[in-house]
Symmetry: C2
Subunit: 361 residues, 2 copies
DNA sequence: TTGTAGGCGTTATCAG
DNA sequence: CTGATAACGCCTACAA
């Protein structure tokens, strides 16, 4: 990917086609963009000549430069690129995006914003692609990409995070959803909770969510969920301070297991686990099961996301409309209804990983 | 996506920055591309000014036009865009591609080649994105994209299909893998087979694979697998003609069920099913189970791909290294070892959807 | 219906 | 280390 044009056995351009049949290059251009600006025959002749000469149509880069748009949508997220195909929730969002792109006939380029934590004086990049607009998916508010994206002067849409003034936003009511989840468990008689949280900042921290970290949460969706969980508990007369919280840097089953291990070893083991993702919840489930627990008899576990696997695993969880997020994002991006905020509905999906609190102990 | 530049409150360019601090635009350009071509101070000053002015670095389109490369890889496949996130096998391949792109810091753009079956005189497009090279994933040999991609004069790599002279190819030995699968079942005593095939051409046909269709298979990987299955059977003394084959246009469980239904209703119902994908196999499994069959006591089912779900479902299948395909593709694409062919290894993964043939009937 | 002239924002070349 | 000048390939008034 270094040598400029080793492939150039001289690229075929508009001009070549024009010269070939003896018209101006404007005419050729018209043949592609404004078919009704020339006779049918001529157009046919041109297209044929193009094929013979091996002209593959207007060069994308040149076209973009001249017109100012590219027909490509950029999807920016803060994890590594492969994440797009491995994380179930992200995948579902992308499925929605792809659905919309498909009908719009725009291409979709995936851009990872994780490479941008470089040294300050090194200019950040938003990927190499020329893009008509960006969808920012759950990017940390302090990621430098955000400012840069705004300066780029192209349409922007944010999913989940962060809320930016004057920029369309799509998300759910995280606080409410979390609140409802906790409340449901409280209704089942649970009084001892444990929380497994997703990352609150991007420092790759795995461990107890300390008081200090709690005051420095940069990921607003996480803050909201935490608030929701704790609010429900507090209202029920529990002490929020007493609830052990484990923070994981990565959304995976492995981390869920670790969290479960910690919670189970805490001074007063919980009878109910609130996990901020299904992956974490499923991991926790595995851990407790292999530790001899019966679920939900001995312990209840509540997930978040409602990924496909949650269904087959019988995990009680918060359903959120991932695919809709993607669809809505493209919609807002293209129709440019600036300053639109969309809050998509969630709902509890009760399956059999939750049940009444076990009687005493 | 129509108005050219409604967003242009006058874009900030190199020139603006240059004018601002009174140097030539070349110097600004150098600040970004050739840091050692100017003093550290000056560079710092420039970067600072850029930030103040809201200059976000070289415009991708312009840069691409000037340099001839874009830092973006195009992944072209013949299904709809959302397929990239729903089809397990494709997803695994993309995961590999993404892995490589991530380390190379290139963006990845997904392009669907399914929109290109338009009227002939309408120029085909390979997507709108400016791309440094294309990975063609299992595109039908007669798809017009292929010729076009070759004419575009950028690096190309083909995965699975079709084999193109002078273009790097990555795939597996489909014939051999299929042969081994059939042979394994023969070894278990099976004599009555049924095959559920993936599509042999892109005409959305669902139904019996007629003799005529069999002579017109455009999808070479499918042809190879079929050949492998049948060769093993023939060598074992069976009549290939007698083996019922069902063709499906879509790779889904639903279609697998349909195929199973047909095979089970054939004049002499099979004791072993060879499915060309795990999705189809899993669908077939469901169908037979709900029809009262015990698997593998009454019936054996052999899949293809080894997707994650095959594991949990206990499906015997052919494992192929999807992710490796993706990784290798990017590698060949970027290092330009033209004319390289890579055949990745497969292996049978025996689980419990296959067993000895049932005794008589 | 066709052609002419200018511009899109960068990079590359090559003197200074 | 810096700065003109010429591509890059196409689009878009505008004039013919």
């Amino acid at each position: 990917m270094n040598k400029p044009r080793q492939y150039n056995r001289r690229k075929v351009t508009l001009k070549d086609v024009a010269a070939y049949i003896g018209v101006s290059h404007t005419t050729i251009s018209n043949a592609y963009i404004r078919p009704n600006q020339l006779s049918v025959e001529l157009r046919k002749k041109i297209l044929l000549a193009a094929q013979e000469l091996g002209y593959t149509g207007p060069d994308p880069a040149a076209k973009q430069l001249a017109t100012g748009r590219s027909g490509v949508i950029g999807f920016l997220f803060s994890e590594d690129l492969p994440y797009a195909f491995s994380d179930p929730a992200l995948r579902a969002v992308l499925q929605g995006v792809a659905l919309s792109c498909n009908t719009l006939k725009t291409d979709l380029t995936l851009i990872s914003a994780s490479n941008n934590l470089q040294n300050i004086d090194h200019p950040v990049s938003l990927g190499n692609a020329a893009v008509d607009g960006y969808i920012l998916y759950s990017v940390a508010p302090d990621n430098r990409c955000i400012l840069m994206a705004q300066q780029r002067n192209v349409p922007l849409v944010v999913i989940d995070q962060p809320r930016l003034s004057n920029i369309p936003y799509i998300g759910i009511d995280d606080r409410k959803a979390a609140y409802q989840a906790a409340q449901y468990l409280l209704g089942l008689g649970h009084r001892k909770f444990g929380i497994i949280s997703l990352k609150t900042a991007h420092d790759n921290y795995n461990g107890v969510l300390t008081k200090q970290r709690r005051h420095n949460i940069t990921h607003s969706t996480i803050a909201m969920r935490l608030e929701g969980y704790l609010a429900a508990c507090t209202e029920a007369g529990l002490s929020a301070e007493a609830i052990p919280i484990w923070e994981t840097a990565i959304n995976s089953k492995e981390q869920g297991k670790e969290g479960a291990l910690f919670l189970n070893n805490s001074s007063s083991p919980p009878t109910a686990i609130l996990a901020m993702s299904d992956c974490l919840a499923l991991g926790a489930m595995e851990h407790f099961r292999s530790a001899g627990f019966s679920i939900p008899q001995d312990l209840s576990i509540f997930g978040f996301d409602d990924i496909p696997e949650a269904h087959s695993a019988g995990l009680t969880t918060v359903h959120q409309p991932h695919e809709q997020k993607g669809i809505a994002a493209v919609q807002l991006l293209t129709q440019q209804t600036t300053r639109d905020n969309i809050s998509l509905p969630t709902r509890l999906v009760i399956r059999n990983s939750t049940g009444p609190a076990p009687h005493k102990k």
